[in-house]
Amino acid sequence: MGLQAYLTLAAIVFCIGLFGVITRRNTISILLGIELMLNSVNINLVAFSRFSGDVTGMVFAVFTICITVTEAALGLAIVILLFRVRRTVTADQLDLLKG
Amino acid sequence: MLLTLSWLVPLVGALLLLLVGNADGRRDGMIRWLALGVSLIAFAVTLGVWAAFDPASAEFQFVERHSWIPQFGIDYFVGIDGISLLLVVLTGFLTPIALLSSWGSIERKVKEFSIFILALEAAMVGVFISLDLFLFYVFWDAMLIPMYFLIGIWGYDRRVYAAIKFMLYTMAGSVLMLVAILGMAYLHSAATGSYTFDLLKLYSLDIAPQTQMWFFLAFTLAFAIKVPLFPFHTWLPDAHVQAPTAGSVILAGVLLKMGTYGLLRFSFPLFPEAAAYFAPWLALLAVIGIIYGALVAMVQPDMKKLVAYSSVSHLGFVVLGICAMNTQGMQGAVYQMLAHGVSTGGLFLMVGMLSDRRHTRLIAEFGGLKTVMPQFTAAFLIMTLASIGLPGLNGFVGEFLIMLGAFRWAPAFAVAAGLGVILSAVYMLWMFQRVFYGPVTHEANETLTDLQPREWAGVLPLCAMALVMGVFPTIFLKPMEASVDALVLRMQATQTVQVEIPVDRRPDDERRLTTVTERVARR
């Protein structure tokens, strides 16, 4: 398989994530969508790295994984906090701030 | 140094007042005296400038130049010539009067009021003396802030609306001028390799006609709003009517002149070709303004609004004179600026006094004041006649010169403007008649007090000035002569190259005619 295939795969995963973020009402699902988007990039990075024989991309992917994990952790923490304060995880009901 | 002092004195005075503790208004009296003292010192400084001014020279005098922001060739560069000299003196003259006028009417937050008036004076003087476009713009915009607060805090019922309208209108015009200023600095750097905002260097900058048009429009829009030229005048009645008396006096007396001064100093000489192209159009707007202002003034029930619209009309004359671009027109324009400052400033002052007494400015509320307040009536009559342009009073000289200049340029405009003169007599005298003659129709008017000594202190200098300017116009025409000639020559030099001019405008001729008008005026 060539580079093209990996890039296409990443793009598809990215778009699925994007679609999820945009259409989902449940905050957890939105978080999942964002995770998909972030991780699709890892496919790209590794693929580029593999096909150019340069290790930077791999290293980058490791960093990205770390960062996405922290983001996910923080995101879930905020969702839990939100649920405690507002008793809801539905994005549509978060409408205190408008204008 | 003297020139810097003329704007630094009021500013430092304002900052000093800031330090005076006056939380509960206990030191109001002291603050009033302090502010008056500062403004009188500033006036003395401007008089000192006049005394040391050399009327024979057309060059800028008292020039000071210090590097300010060297990266962009911005200097602290000030100086005056015959045109700006008298406007600076006028500013110095009117500020103490404005402060005096507030002694009876401003009781709240006297300290802040005085600070804003002094800051305003500093900015206004700064506008007139700046020879660096950046410096000019800084003063021009900074001036808005104190005026905004003066109208907004101490004004009448709809003060907030008027203040914001004033601010936004003026800013909308001036920001476009800012772009044009930047454009010119850029063109200068493209031509010579260095940025400059130096007016004198930009005078000699060669700008393509097409670009000139745009820049001229940007500059002129800013000034036309300030003047205010029809149809940009709608902020003026609001601002004038809502402003406190002191604000109106300064607004009419000095602020409006900044617009016409800007035309004379920047729009026309910086872009002579565009000016020649647009002059008839500007003059057309000016004439419309003259007649429209007069007609609208006629139907106003509110005295302050009437005087405000009369300003639109009078300032139209000034613009017409500038557009004529000959010596009479320009001299008349400058003279009319001064005369209008004195007479309209006086009218606003005295309308303010009436309004302080009766808390209304509606003409219908008054009548027969002549018997109740004879001194006030006499002073008001002088101001009314001065505003109409009766020979022997200050309004006449300027209007006459302008009409003469306009007639030599385009008789049609002069004729139309002449109609404005007649109309101005109609609305002013009609108002005078309704307010002062006839029986006392309203009970409250029977007990009105006449002019108090403190009020005389404000009114008397204005009346005296109206007379002096009407009888001895040479005192004021002399210093501006050389500068106006130089300006006219400059305008014509480009015109003779670029466009055909219908009338022969040799400066010698002009000189002779001026002396004729002076003689007429003196009579």
Binding site: A10, F14, G17, V21, T27, L31, I34, M37, L38, S40, V41, N44, L45, F48, S52, D54, T56, G57, V59, F60, F63, I67, E71, L74, G75, I78, V79, L81, L82, V85, R86, L94, L96, L97, K98, G99 | W68, I69, P70, Q71, F134, Y137, V138, D141, A142, F149, G152, A163, I164, M167, L168, M171, V175, L176, L178, V179, L182, G183, Y186, S189
Partner: protein, 480 residues
């Protein structure tokens, strides 16, 4: 200072150590023991400022990915000022609202670390890490009032869109890496310059994605949706911090990436940013007019200011680059101070950030009203304040690059923006105090000192900008 490979990261290390010290101090603090944790942070920030001054003109570089060039150092100084002012305002707020001091200051300091890192990074990977460091800290700061439903909602929205934009940003980086084979900005620039004529679609995708990522971070329209909500919901002092610090850091990186690495493709991205800039300036001001909450209004104003900064980026000449730096500084000081006033006016139970909460402020707190007015006038770009010189600098950049249209849109929108700044002034000066409102809070001590200091800076930059203009001009000479 000796020349070691660590030189360039010294300013950052100062702040890192301060943050660690704050965390340690918090951990070993007795139950009711009061500690000047903020002071500790200020010491670290001052250390960063001093080391930046020492590094000035030395062009130090660490590990090839962090460069302490003058550009980065100028932004670092700006960030230090933002940090110090924020901590000073916070010291009042933290005590008043009973916020967890240790966590709060540590997060502020770590956010500053991320910002400094972002401003001095010379590698896309490092920029991304820096972006995450500062974002994660700011997400938490936004929601630091855990029991406040609005703050929590703001934190959540901010987080979602922040993470969302990070994905775009990361995607852009991946493509850039794929095309050029490197994440180092200098190498990318060299690579692209060598073959700038072959318009590879991949690189355009990369530029587009990075642009979207940056546009989110600087809240350019149409990627501004998170800004008003996050700014309104967060505590005012945090809003001041993130509206200036995050924006400054993001703009520094934005400028560095687009004007060094992607310079060869400026024909492609300049029109895109042109549209962004115009939309940002217009929407920021027009929507700002309709707001009744001062924090939200200032949020839209900060969107508009992002638009002005973009104008400098489009101009892309020396004037423009220096103008961005000067404008960032002027805007940062002014905005932090303006939000500082709002923060100081709040109480533990009420944010007091509605327009009517400012009514008649002049009568009760004349000094505070005057200081707020100066900030607002500076934001509106009136002389003689820092904002005026900043705007003037930006627009002269636009004019000298021939973008007259942008300059005209810019000045006209700034007039519109003056309208809504004046609404606050009108409330403070020209309305009587709403009788239903409690008397405004007393402000004293550190908060007032910080405010007065900011006002002095605002006037200094407005009246005697020469020195700082020189520094800004020197800053851009080193990198591009």
């Amino acid at each position: 200072m000796m020349d070691t490979p660590f030189n360039a990261v010294v300013p950052m290390l100062c702040v890192v150590f301060a943050a660690l010290a704050v965390m340690m101090a918090e951990a070993f603090r007795g139950r009711d023991e009061q500690m000047a944790l903020g002071g500790l942070g200020i010491v670290g920030l001052v250390g960063a400022a001093v080391s930046s001054m020492l590094l000035w003109n030395r062009n130090a570089s660490s590990f090839g990915v962090i460069v302490a060039d003058n550009f980065g150092l100028f932004v670092t100084m700006t960030l230090v000022i933002v940090g110090v002012l924020t901590i000073m305002f916070s010291s009042v707020v933290v005590r008043r609202d009973g916020l967890p001091a240790g966590e709060y200051y540590a997060l502020v300091l770590f956010a500053v670390v991320g910002m400094i890192m972002m401003a001095t990074a010379n590698d896309l990977l490092v920029i991304f890490i820096a972006l995450e460091i500062l974002s994660l800290a700011v997400y938490v700061l936004t929601g630091i009032r855990r029991d406040d439903p609005r703050a929590t909602e703001a934190a959540f929205k901010y987080f979602l869109l922040g993470a969302f934009s990070s994905a775009f940003f990361l995607y852009g980086i991946a493509f850039t890496y794929g095309v050029s084979g490197s994440t180092r900005l200098d190498r990318i620039g060299a690579f692209l310059a060598a073959q700038s004529m072959s318009d590879s679609p991949l690189i355009l995708v990369a530029i587009g994605m990075l642009l979207v990522g940056f546009a989110f971070k600087i809240s350019a329209v149409p990627f501004h949706m998170w800004t008003p909500d996050a700014y309104e919901g967060a505590p005012a002092v945090v809003t001041g911090f993130m509206s200036t610090g995050v924006k400054a850091a993001a703009f520094a990186a934005f400028t560095r990436v687009f004007l060094s690495a992607f310079e060869p493709f400026s024909v492609d991205w300049a029109p895109m940013i042109w549209i962004l800039a115009v939309a940002t300036m217009i929407l920021g001001t027009v929507v700002g007019v309709a707001q009744t909450n001062v924090k939200r209004m200032l949020a839209y104003s900060s969107i508009a200011h992002g638009g002005y900064l973009l104008v400098g980026l489009i101009a892309a000449n020396d004037v423009g680059k220096a103008a961005i730096l000067f404008y960032l500084l002027a805007y940062a000081v002014t905005n932090v101070a303006a939000f500082g006033v709002i923060a100081l006016l709040g109480t533990r139970d009420a944010a007091n950030d509605e327009l009517r909460d400012f009514s008649g402020l002049w009568h009760g707190r004349p000094a505070l009203a005057a200081l707020m007015t100066v900030c607002l006038l500076s934001l509106g770009g009136l002389p003689p304040t820092a904002g005026f010189i900043g705007k003037w600098y930006i627009f002269s950049a636009a004019v000298s690059a021939g973008y007259y249209g942008l300059a005209i849109i810019g000045v006209l929108t700034s007039v519109v923006s003056v309208f809504f700044y004046l609404r606050v002034v009108v409330m403070m000066y020209m309305e009587e105090r709403d009788p239903g409102l409690a008397a405004p809070a007393h402000v004293g001590g550190v908060g007032m000192v910080a405010l007065v200091a900011s006002i002095v800076v605002i006037f200094y930059l407005g009246v005697l900008p020469t020195r700082v203009l020189d520094l800004a001009a020197e800053s851009i000479s080193t990198i591009f």
